[in-house]
């Protein structure tokens, strides 16, 4: 500890160099934090595990085929099923076709819906109005903020594969892990006389009593309709969400690779800096050795310098990321095609902690070789060398 002052002084010996090196660490850490959070927004289970007892039933050939509504009764009768609501993915166009105006639009049975989607918190008054008014809808809080909806606002959704237009009235928001969707009445869609009105649905969304019932209920549903006109594929909510992300294909893997390569590059930058500064101090190191500092001292000094510099980069990086750059990127991204992923975009404390640990790792890796080389210098060689 008594050497801390020496290490500190050495780190700040060349201010520009220090600033540039920590600067590159800061930039890279911010980038990694953003990329990893994007990955998380793409793949994590937004309910944070609270949706573990929920199942989604879709047509065996995929989401694009409708299921008959007659299945609802039979699913509801399976022991262990607490509540089931049919849902239809409307996929309409809001305002214009720009990707930033895209969000999930689903119809549901308002009497049942929040019994299934039970990790959502919703004002009881809002829920009551939503239930009572056939043309109303509720939206995730983030969506409300994004579009600035106020209760009573009308929105028009232009149908795409369901060729009807919907005029919906906003009634309030819900809080949940996944706030990227709006929900309106199945009945309202039926009233609009779409081709499957009162006959078909997209999926069934249901809740079972306990986790132990999941495999049994899943198997029971699929077996029940196996040989019917509409065979089903039942999966947990998490699997259902993952099935979308699997469609994103290799993009996820690519982001991972990119992050790794960038980290490697910044480690090289730091290593180069530490090596340069150690090389410039060869004479000084030799003098220190003559004064009685041991090889291990020199090793730990150089290594600590590297770690300290990276730590500073890490701390500034996290502060800058949290309070300036990430809000800026999120605000800027909301107008682009990335906005779909930004609705559930959250930078968790775990990610920041990870970034901090990474900065320590960079320091250790980058300082290792220069530290060993400096400690290996023979005093005579060091004193002889003129830089």
């Amino acid at each position: 500890m008594k050497y801390l002052r020496l290490i500190w002084k050495n780190v700040f010996r060349k201010k520009i160099r220090m600033f540039l090196t920590t600067g590159s660490i800061v930039l890279v850490l911010v980038l990694i934090v953003v990329l990893v959070s994007l990955l998380n927004a793409m793949e994590a289970d937004p309910s944070g595990g609270r949706g573990a007892n929920r199942l989604v039933v879709q047509h065996a050939t995929g989401l694009a085929t409708f299921l008959p509504l007659s299945q609802r009764q039979r699913i509801a009768q399976i022991p262990g099923v607490v509540a089931v609501t049919p849902e239809i993915w409307f996929g309409g166009v809001y305002k214009d076709e720009k990707p930033e105006n895209w969000f999930g639009q689903l119809s549901a049975d308002p009497e049942i819906f929040f019994k299934v989607f039970d990790d959502a918190t919703v004002d009881p008054a809002v829920e009551a109005t939503w239930r009572a008014e056939r043309n109303s809808f509720v939206a995730g809080k983030s969506l409300e903020e994004k579009f600035g909806w106020k209760p009573g606002d009308h929105i028009i959704l232009k149908g795409t594969y369901i060729p009807v237009n919907l005029d919906l009235v906003y009634r309030g928001s819900y809080h949940a892990g996944d706030e990227s969707n709006i929900f309106f009445h199945n009945e309202y869609l039926n009233q609009a006389q779409w081709f499957g009105a009162n006959r078909m649905t997209g999926i069934y969304y249901l809740k079972v009593a306990s986790g132990e019932d999941l495999p049994r209920v899943t198997a029971a549903i699929d077996r029940m309709f196996e040989n019917s006109d509409a065979p089903t594929k039942t999966m947990t909510e998490k699997q259902f969400q993952q099935s979308f992300m699997e469609m994103m294909g290799n993009v996820k893997g690519l982001i991972r690779w990119i992050s790794l390569i960038i980290l490697f590059a910044v480690t090289l930058i730091v290593a180069n800096t530490v090596a340069m500064s150690a090389r410039e101090r060869v004479t000084e190191i030799a003098v220190m050795r003559t004064l009685g500092f041991r090889r291990t001292h020199i090793l730990s000094f150089i290594l600590s310098e590297s770690v300290l510099m990276s730590l500073l980069g890490g701390i500034f990086g996290i502060l800058l990321a949290k309070f300036l750059l990430i809000p800026l990127i999120v605000a800027g991204g909301a107008k682009t095609a990335l906005s779909v992923f930004l609705i559930n975009f959250k930078v968790t404390p775990e990610i920041f902690l990870g970034a901090f640990l990474i900065s320590v790792g960079i320091g250790v890796l980058a300082g290792f070789v220069p530290a060993i080389r400096s400690s290996q210098i023979r005093i005579v060689d060091g004193l002889r060398q003129v830089v």
Partner: protein, 390 residues
């Protein structure tokens, strides 16, 4: 007078480790940047290649994708009589009513994804000159045969020649592989439209595909569709239709911009560090250069050039690395979700000449930014103090 380039080159070579590491960092950054951009370029190319202005898709008004559209048999019959449609050698109008369905099939990596199955009229093949059968044979109507793109077997299970693909109540025998010159069709399975209607128990079409003699006739046809009150359909050239799907590549483009900006600044900081170290290690040299008559401006130019050389070396290496990577190592197609069709679109990395130039320009920009401030410091040095430096 300018300081000879050889001076800079030798200086770079003498400090092997430091130069090497900086070059390597720039190389990695350029490779990553090109990597993301080629991904975007790959998606873009898949959606634009072979997209013709003569081929027109007729869909329900407001449909964003063929999948979302419905065209009745009656409308399909009416379309045959519209103007602008070319006729085949046998005198038949080049009209192919098509049905698309989406199926979720397993990939070779154990996950699964959505793939489009396209039912076409037999004449539909003739209307797409970019599509040719490379192995096996064309499907025969009435047999539930199917042909798949030649890249599909490298990504999905059960789609090799001779395989039977089963999904829910659907069942096809794969009898041929086709090459679609890298277009979006290379992500699809094709079969006879009547067979598909029977299997899907649907009596409708998704879209009617029409080939016109030239872009002008195509426009005439689109006008005719618009003017026909019975149809409630709209025509879009293949080109427009796929251009609208470019949003698929947009997120990748923004990730490229994000990654590009951050890594470029980070790496040029690294280059700047190296250059600052060079300047402070060579103060006496700089003094000497000034003393023998080189101007401040020559010193400035010399150090900026040195930084440019350093970064350009990284840029060239990075581009070469990317080239080797995309042409020799990653040869299998990669895929991502097409947001409009909700199905997977397969594509290859594309390192185009503009991208190569872009990568080199990117490295030069880092060199300029990284070299300017250290060079300015070198140029500002006073001869007397510089020469006194130990």
């Amino acid at each position: 007078m300018a300081i000879p380039l050889k001076y800079n080159l030798r200086n770079l070579l003498v400090r092997k480790v430091s130069t090497g590491m900086t070059v390597f960092v720039i190389c990695l950054v350029v490779t990553v940047f090109l990597f993301v951009l080629s991904l975007w370029q790959g998606v873009t190319r898949t959606l634009t290649v072979n997209a013709s202005e003569r081929n027109v898709l007729t869909m329900r008004v407001g449909s964003q994708a063929e999948m979302q559209s419905v065209v009745t048999r009656d409308s399909a019959d009416l379309i045959r009589a519209l103007p602008g449609i070319e006729r085949s050698a046998a005198g038949q109008p080049l009209v192919s009513p098509e049905l698309l369905i989406l199926i979720n099939i397993p990939r070779l990596d154990g996950k699964s994804t959505n793939v489009q199955v396209r039912g076409i009229a037999p004449i539909g093949m003739e209307m797409r000159p970019g599509v040719t059968i490379v192995e096996g044979r064309m499907f025969r109507p009435g047999t539930n045969d199917a042909i798949v793109s030649k890249v599909l077997p490298s990504r999905f299970a059960n789609v090799r020649l001779g395989d039977t693909l089963k999904m829910g109540s659907y069942r096809w025998t794969i009898v041929g592989l086709f090459d679609a010159s890298g277009s979006a069709y290379e992500s699809e399975i094709w079969t006879d439209v009547a067979d598909l209607q029977a299997q899907a128990k649907r009596q409708i079409y998704s879209a009617v595909f029409v080939r016109a003699a030239d872009p002008d006739s195509a426009r005439r046809y689109i006008e005719a569709v618009k003017g026909d009150q019975r149809l409630k359909l709209e025509g879009k050239t293949e080109k427009t239709y796929y251009e609208e799907q470019m949003v698929t590549g947009e997120p990748i483009k923004y990730i490229a911009i994000l990654v590009g900006i951050f890594t470029a600044i980070g790496a040029s900081f690294g280059a700047m560090n190296t250059m600052y170290a060079q300047v402070s290690a060579r103060i006496r040299e700089i003094g000497t250069l000034r003393a023998i008559g080189f101007s401040r401006r020559s010193v400035l130019a010399s150090f900026v050039l040195e930084s440019l050389m350093l970064c350009l070396a990284g840029g060239v290496l990075g581009t070469a690395l990317a080239y080797v990577l995309f042409n020799l190592i990653i040869t299998a197609p990669t895929g991502t979700m097409n947001f409009r069709t909700f199905s997977e679109v397969l594509f290859n990395f594309r390192l185009t000449p503009p991208l190569i130039l872009g990568g080199l320009a990117f490295s030069l920009a880092m060199g300029l930014f990284g070299g300017f401030f250290p060079a300015a410091r070198a140029a500002r040095l006073k001869i007397t103090t510089a020469l006194r430096e130990v």
